[in-house]
Amino acid sequence: MRDILHRLRLPLLFAGLAVLAAISLLADQRALQAGGRDLSWLSGGLLEVAAPVQRVLTAPLELIRDAYRRYVDLLGVRDENAALRARVAALEDEGLQLREALLASGALEQVAALRAQLELSMLATEVVGQDVSPWFRSVVLDRGRDHGLRAGMPIVTESGVVGLVTATTPHAARAMLILDRQSAVDGLVQRSRARGIVRGTGGAELEFEYTGPPEEVQVGDLVITSGYGGVYPKGIRIGEVVSVARDAPYLVRRARLAPAAGFERLERVFAVLWRSPTLELLAGDEPPAVGAAPRADAKAVP
């Protein structure tokens, strides 16, 4: 018997490892569907060690890249400056006209109220690691639970939506980018208010699926978060429509979006210190009161 067991040791270990990996995979997928999780002490420990090490490793690379970028940016800065000044003047003019129109319609107060309602605390965090495989698009952040981050919190930049925190440790977190093929965001075309789902493709672009008439989505349209998905607050930029599949014979139409957030230069991002009541309930926490103040223990960034 011992001889047989000894001979079958490797196949048994192989099968055992396969089963263990499959169970981990299923558990991880379930946790992700439930809005993320706090990592176990072993997994969390590795990420805790990895984040500062990667930050140290990334620093010299950042320095070189930054110096190169500054040099490249300086080339043609004069022409760009003149063009931007002209653009600012045009936008200021447009802003004045819009303000006038809003005042005339009495909507300015409502807009101000909405802004106040949407104002949420944010936490600045550095991207210190990135997935190298083409299958998943995720990043490691250098802030974690101790800084107020929780699984399910949205990650944004000043340009738009970046992704979602999927796992946390005390001092680090992992976030899935909206480019990931598992990502789906409820989106809204700002111009036509057409709703749809923005899916990651795994590549540099996003896919917007909608069911309305084709004219509701046009090239150049801006797609923003609708707030319906229960994950992202309403009104954050997701991307701009770059192509529309016009002849799709199906009910569901598709458009390609260029993401608003600059994923090719993702360095500093902001975690929105907010989770939808649904996610709070899934996480076993008390749902926040409507209009509740943001977490007071977090370092707010204006």
């Binding site: 490892l17 299923l26 991880d28 490793l57 690379l61 890249r65 997935d131 190298v132 490691v140 590549g203």
Partner: protein, 182 residues
């Protein structure tokens, strides 16, 4: 087991460095550290320590990379099994054969991952860019396979843990160096 632990430490460090390098170098030009190391371990270590290296690096790459936990291990099991079986009857402990083995196993690992990630998707769903990326990574993996295998061999030799169970069948018409290596 000492060699397995040393290789896990080396592999984890390599994964960390790779995670930082991806900001400066295109991901397709970076090797699949977990695959190369686990195949090298399957060639030079005994079954159990090699499996330990695979498990540790598979889980570590999942954690650092962000893929669902367990996926990396499952995708590495197929190349591992192929290597162990092929190593019984082929002379694989040589630079050229190690490079060819990794060149063949890189697409195998990718297909395994594609099947696990999205059964209806696969490599085709990623288009031409993904295939170019796969070709590049296959080349990079093949390039670093011989030095990685030398390193694993050195670690295993130093710990006195070179795989003793290997049958050691030579090439047909094997050269003297092949016999001397065994």
């Amino acid at each position: 087991m000492k060699s397995a632990l040393a290789l896990v430490a080396i592999g984890a460090l390599a994964l960390l460095v790779e995670g930082a390098l991806v900001f400066a170098i295109p991901a397709a030009l970076l090797p699949n550290v977990a695959l190369v190391l686990s195949v090298s371990a399957a060639l030079y270590l005994g079954g159990t320590p090699a499996l330990l290296v695979l498990a540790a690096l598979g889980f570590a790459s999942d954690l650092l990379g962000g893929s669902p936990l367990g996926l990396g291990v499952l995708a590495l099991l197929v190349p591992f099994a192929v290597t162990r079986i092929a190593n019984r009857s082929l002379e694989l402990r040589h630079g050229a054969s190690e490079a060819i083995l990794l060149a063949l196993l890189t697409p195998v690992a990718v297909v395994a991952m594609a099947v696990l990630v999205r059964p209806e998707g696969g490599v085709a769903s990623h288009g031409l860019a993904a295939l170019v990326g796969l070709a590049l990574q296959t080349g990079v993996n093949a390039l670093i396979a011989p030095p990685t295998c030398r390193m694993v061999e050195a670690v295993a030799s130093a710990a006195g843990e070179l795989d003793p169970t290997r049958r050691g069948v030579a090439w047909i018409g094997a050269a003297p160096w092949a016999a001397s290596r065994r």
